[in-house]
């Protein structure tokens, strides 16, 4: 690491509507260093990086590259300043070879000769120790090879500043080690690298310095060798904020749902859930905390009958019949036929929980339209339900015949939660139910969940805001990389405990 600054941000701010994504951020990046960007979901890391890479343009502030002010309005401008970003989602043409993808879009006025390009690609791969056949087609590649192509794309354009957005999220531990070796070689070659990651142990392993972001602000930058994981966690999650969410003592808790050793794998063979066990009790709120993509979605979908399991069982204790049913690998319809009253507020509201183009009445029917033997629909009861929800949850809408996609985010969520609660569930699962909602709507959702808890419903709440989890939930299950990292009492746990467990199994010492 030299003392020369490669990239400097001064007072960068960016807003999206009423949301403050970045506020007055100052940041330095030196030549020949690896800087880790650390922060919770929504802390503004990716937005900040996108402004450096020309995807967004800052509302305020200046960017300096090698001491001179830079105006970066497009990724092309960014390449002009020798800045390249490797995004989380790859943008590659499947039918093209690695080299064809790499040279795609280059307009240098020169002749297009693939053999020359291949030679140059081979040179770069040798220099930094990539493993890559430049002639291999993308559709034949593994995820890590595709990522290599994305990195080569940036290096081919002579980038000196590389930004990697969560590059290890899609990699196996072995592939991560290989990537880190390559990154170190690039650093030693004088390149400056920014790596966004949630994983503390990776931060410790790869970075020279760490910049911590929280709620859109740059908290501090520290030298990795002079810090430790718990200090970083504290900076990342911040001091506890009191939200004054009601929390009653659970009464007469009995186990309602037992999840035992549940495992599942993705279509690509990645282990999504790894022997997860816990139980959800009637009359309490169980929180599930974890970095985004740690298996929360798969876990809820497995319980709802949407995710096939490779191992384990999901036992439901029916309070009426006192029978125990195994829900493993049953379809949602079969689960309902067993008399299990399971409600599910999924993360993807308009893509899964509701149909955007249908009106509120027709969306009310989604769960109940099968009732009765008639081949025709009964829209009378759903209409009444729609009117009831609009009135009691203060849904802002012209009328019940309005397509739900026209409603604002908070109102969409009220419609969805209202419907799910209306079927008087015994288990209620809610994934990120307050994401994108304003304060008032959020509190309305918390109250609804608390009401269900009082009625003896086993509530499972997946959330990202640790302050909310700590004030709302009776118990908090922390998961990390598809495994249970720990189970904490919501009344005594601290933010640091949860934060550490989110990034490391068991939370270390």
């Amino acid at each position: 690491m030299s003392n020369k600054i490669a990239l400097q941000l001064k007072g960068i701010s960016k807003r999206f509507g009423s949301i403050r994504a970045n506020h007055n951020v100052d940041l330095d990046l030196y030549h020949g260093e690896i800087l880790a960007m650390l922060g919770e979901n929504g802390s503004g890391k990716t937005t900040l990086m996108n402004m450096i890479a020309g995807i967004y343009y800052p509302d305020e502030g200046q960017i300096f590259v090698n001491g001179e002010e830079a105006v970066i309005r497009s990724p092309k401008d960014a390449f002009g300043y020798r800045i390249g970003m490797i995004h989380q989602h790859f943008k590659l043409v499947d039918l093209f070879s690695a080299t064809e993808n790499i040279v795609l879009g280059i307009e240098d006025g020169g002749k297009y000769r693939l053999s020359d390009a291949e030679k140059k690609v081979e040179e770069i791969t040798k220099r930094y120790g990539f493993e890559m056949d430049p002639r291999k087609k993308i559709y034949n590649m593994s995820v890590s090879e595709k990522q290599t192509v994305e990195i080569l794309k940036v290096l081919y354009r002579n980038a000196d500043i590389l930004i990697l957005d969560e590059p290890t999220a899609v990699l196996t531990p072995q592939e991560t080690q290989k990537l880190f070796a390559v990154l170190r070689r690039m650093r030693d070659d004088g390149k400056s690298i920014i790596i966004i990651t949630h994983k503390l142990h990776e931060v410790m392993a790869i970075s020279d310095r760490v910049a911590v972001m929280r709620r859109g602000e740059h908290i501090a930058t520290v030298v990795t060798a002079e810090t430790n994981e718990s200090e970083l966690t504290e900076m990342m999650v911040g001091k506890k904020v009191s939200l004054n969410i009601d929390r009653d003592e659970p009464v007469g808790s009995t186990d309602r749902l037992d999840v035992k050793n549940v495992s599942c794998v993705s279509a690509e063979g990645v282990q999504l859930l790894d022997h997860i066990s816990f139980s959800a009790r009637a009359g309490e709120i169980l929180g599930i905390a974890g970095i985004a993509g740690s298996g929360q979605r798969e876990l809820l979908e497995a319980i709802a009958g949407l995710q096939p399991l490779t191992e384990g069982e999901i036992l439901y204790h029916n309070p009426k019949t006192e029978a125990t049913e195994d829900l493993r690998n049953k379809t949602p319809q079969q689960i309902r036929d067993l008399g299990v009253r399971l409600s599910f507020v999924p993360e993807d509201r308009l893509g899964m929980g509701l149909v955007g183009n249908m009106d509120i009445i027709d969306n009310m029917m989604l769960r109940s339209y099968r009732h009765g033997r008639s081949v025709f629909l009964d829209r009378r009861q759903p209409h009444e339900l729609a009117e009831r929800i609009i009135a009691s949850l203060e849904v802002v809408t012209p009328n019940a015949q309005t397509p739900v996609r026209r409603l604002s985010g908070g109102n969409v969520q009220k419609v969805l939660v209202g419907r799910e609660i209306a079927s008087s569930p015994t288990v209620l699962m809610a994934a990120y139910p307050v994401r994108g909602l304003d304060i008032n709507s959020s509190y309305m959702i918390y109250n609804l969940l608390n009401e269900q808890k009082k009625n003896g419903v086993a509530v499972i709440y997946v959330g990202e805001d640790l302050d909310v989890l700590l004030e709302l939930c009776d118990r908090i299950l922390v998961i990390c990389g598809g495994r249970v990292s720990g189970l904490l009492d919501g009344r005594t746990a601290t933010k640091e405990q949860v934060g550490l467990m989110m990034t490391k199994i068991g939370g270390g010492d």
Partner: protein, 381 residues
């Protein structure tokens, strides 16, 4: 070089001539008004083109178009044409509502017609009328269902591309008919006509085609109710809008896809039965005559609503028959009538854009053009 740079900077300064925004709501009056304007504009352009290209009086051309469709002795044939096209359009509609792009209506109708013809071919002089007609119906519908369900099964279980699959099935149906013509008709005329098939469905109340028209009218109402008020129709809509939601609430997506394509194929098969048994009393590979594809346009223009599809079918058939009439009456090349049909369809389909989006002209630009000054020069100064 300097000039081009100047133009470039000028361009940057210029406010864009117009910008386009999506309409959030469209009232019924607005959408009808925009369509009416489109039809009037289309007719004016047609008149202009007619005068410039042929020198004929455009009004007399329009009158001829009308007479071609609804002149003396023509109405019944025109209404029957409407009924058949509507029937095939109704067939593709449930699939389209499910976002299953069935481009195989042509083949599904043909195969239904072939099955009907086969029943007539073998039994027309040995069976009494009623059982014969019922058997024809059953055979036609079953054949259509088979042609519809094969691509659906492959789509449901192996996610094949339904557009290509249904399209290819058309050619299989055509070849099967060609094969039957070779076997059934030894004279080599490429048509197996009434002489070999008999006359099929008897006339209702002595009126030709009435049976077909009544059947399609009933079907239109039934399908409207099925799609909008039945549980099946609701499931079709949910699967079409979002397969994820369908899975989430426990709809068996495969079952719905297969069931809906069985229905779609069945109605195509019914169309084939009506064409062969109730109208042509003969079979060859062109009895459907591309209506399996026109149906796609009818269904889209009618927004997948069986009732509005009556209007779109009416329009397309009216234009088609009228166009044929001008080419014979005025001794014009038949391509000329195609030009007129093309103009009208262009306006009708094009006006959908204005129903969905609003065009705002920029103020400054409008003022300048109103002054009659050339915008480029005034801005240069």
């Amino acid at each position: 070089m300097a000039d081009s740079e100047k133009i470039l900077t000028e361009k940057k300064k210029t406010e864009p001539l117009f910008h386009i925004t999506k309409r959030s709501t469209v009232t019924l009056a607005q959408s009808i008004g925009i369509r009416a304007i489109a039809i009037v504009a289309a007719l004016l352009l047609c008149a202009l083109v007619t005068v410039v290209l042929t020198g004929d009086n455009p009004l007399s051309v329009f009158v001829t178009v009308y007479k071609g469709a609804f002149g003396p002795g023509r109405s019944l044939v025109t209404i029957h044409d409407i009924a058949i096209l509507l029937c095939i359009s109704l067939a593709v509609t449930p699939a389209f509502r499910m976002r299953f792009w069935n481009t195989g209506a042509e083949g599904q109708t043909l195969i239904g017609g072939l099955a009907t013809a086969l029943v007539m071919f073998f039994w027309h002089d040995t069976m009494p009328t009623l059982p014969l007609v019922l058997l024809m119906l059953a055979a036609g519908v079953a054949a259509g269902m088979l042609w519809g369900v094969v691509p659906a099964v492959f789509k449901a279980f192996w996610n094949t591309n339904e557009t290509l699959f249904t399209l290819m099935m058309n050619y299989v149906a055509i070849q099967l008919i060609e094969y039957f013509l070779k076997i059934g008709d030894k004279s080599g005329s490429n048509v197996v006509g009434p002489a070999l098939l008999g006359t099929g469905i008897p006339n209702l109340f002595g009126v030709q085609y009435l049976f077909n028209i009544v059947v399609v009218a009933l079907l239109t109402v039934v399908l409207y109710v099925y799609l909008n008020y039945s549980k099946h129709g609701y499931e079709i809509q949910v699967v079409g809008e979002s397969e994820n939601t369908a899975r989430y609430i426990g709809i068996d997506v495969r079952k719905v896809v297969i069931r809906t394509m069985l229905l779609s194929g069945a109605i195509c098969g019914l169309s084939g039965f009506l064409i062969v048994g109730g109208a042509s009393h003969s079979i060859n590979a062109s009895i459907v005559g591309g209506r399996g594809f026109t149906a796609i346009m009818v269904s889209w223009l009618g927004k997948f609503n069986p009732i509005s599809m009556i209007l779109t079918t009416l329009l397309l058939v009216f234009l088609g028959r009228g166009a044929d009439e001008i080419s014979t009456q005025f001794g014009l090349n038949s391509s000329f009538s195609n030009i007129l049909t093309g103009i009208i369809l262009f306006f009708i389909i094009g006006c959908e854009f204005f129903i969905r989006y609003q065009v705002h002209l920029s103020r400054g630009r409008r003022a300048q053009t109103a002054d009659g000054a050339k915008p480029k020069e005034t801005e240069g100064k």
